[in-house]
Subunit: 250 residues, 2 copies
Amino acid sequence: MTKHTPKARLYVTADLLAGRPVVPDREQQHYLINVMRLAAGDQVALFNGRDGEWHADIQMTGRKSCDLLPTDQTRQQVASPDLWLLFAPVKKARLDFIAQKASEMGCSRIWPVRTDYCQVARVNDDRIMANAIEAAEQTERLDIAEIMPFTPLDEALAAMESDRRLIFCDEALAGSDSAGAIATLSAAAPLQRAAVLIGPEGGFSPAERHRLDGHENCLKLSLGPRILRADTAAIAALTCYQSVCGDWVG
Amino acid sequence: MTKHTPKARLYVTADLLAGRPVVPDREQQHYLINVMRLAAGDQVALFNGRDGEWHADIQMTGRKSCDLLPTDQTRQQVASPDLWLLFAPVKKARLDFIAQKASEMGCSRIWPVRTDYCQVARVNDDRIMANAIEAAEQTERLDIAEIMPFTPLDEALAAMESDRRLIFCDEALAGSDSAGAIATLSAAAPLQRAAVLIGPEGGFSPAERHRLDGHENCLKLSLGPRILRADTAAIAALTCYQSVCGDWVG
């Protein structure tokens, strides 16, 4: 069998089995046929979060419609680390950005939480999902992060299992003599389950800080001497976690 | 002396000395008076990359003009790590973003380089500088990264001092069994001078890879099993460097 480099990579919900055609949704068909200008016999890669990655041949079913015939499995399914990102949502463009980056960084759950200083009243879950899926397609992930609805911080904390470590990226530690992030995580490793928490611009309220300090499974992380924006802090903290406890470990 | 929290933080080029007024530029005056609505007696923070950070009082010199009177030095100057970011520039919004993030992450030099697969023909240095300054003001940095003109990769590599480690973030290592980024950097530490190199979408050409493999001071870094976008890779690589070799070390 000749292997070609697939011309696109798509997330689908259908089961992936050799020889069972998958019907991409209308938007995906438009993308494949009109945007990428693919045609019968071109190959794409598919994943659904369960069955690994498959190569599939495009079969035209009409002038502007196609289905995809899985031919061979190219990667086995692997689970993403059990790593949540809790963050106070920010303005639209930056919110898109955080959803994309959390997906690239391999988060298993993306959870916008309402904090006292959060400036955002509503969050568009579908938009977060679309960003997470697009990033997963591009980043070669085999699954999609679970997108949680916008939830008050207290409720999200209360919903955490007792063995899930809360990694609290405390901007108040910037410039302090606290241990570096890698040392802190290395001392705490292995962490099978974690949730990185990133605050809003302006940080956490005194009441929230009190609550976080008292959280029984809280690990405070310092992200260096500079005050990072929320989106930078999210990528930096997830990098540290993945490097020490997650799937970047060689 | 009563300390107030400064209402704004500005980069200026003038020397900072107690009692010697600094005249902010027109845009800064507009920002202070019209945007932030500050008035006589309000305090701002100033830095110039040489004299640490100072608090300064606003003195109105007209209805829409002011100068700033430094009163006391609040932080001593510290040097940023000698850490360059070389990157193949990308589309406008993402370029702004990389400049901001490199500044937040404490790079001493930001250097757009032309690679074989780079899609961008020209780079607006002033725009990179404006983004780097704005991020430095917000991130509590005491200096501004040096912005280099858009340069062919070969010339930038040739201009590197022999003791500057080239940290080549090789997307071809994604999913390989190579050592993790933290282990790689820990084994190479201490690195007094480094340059992180991030490729364009599509990576490096075979000729460039050959050249980079032969670079005498090259350290290949794996950023985990997923393919990261250039901007994510830049933040992730800079996080790893700062955490192991830079100023995030506690």
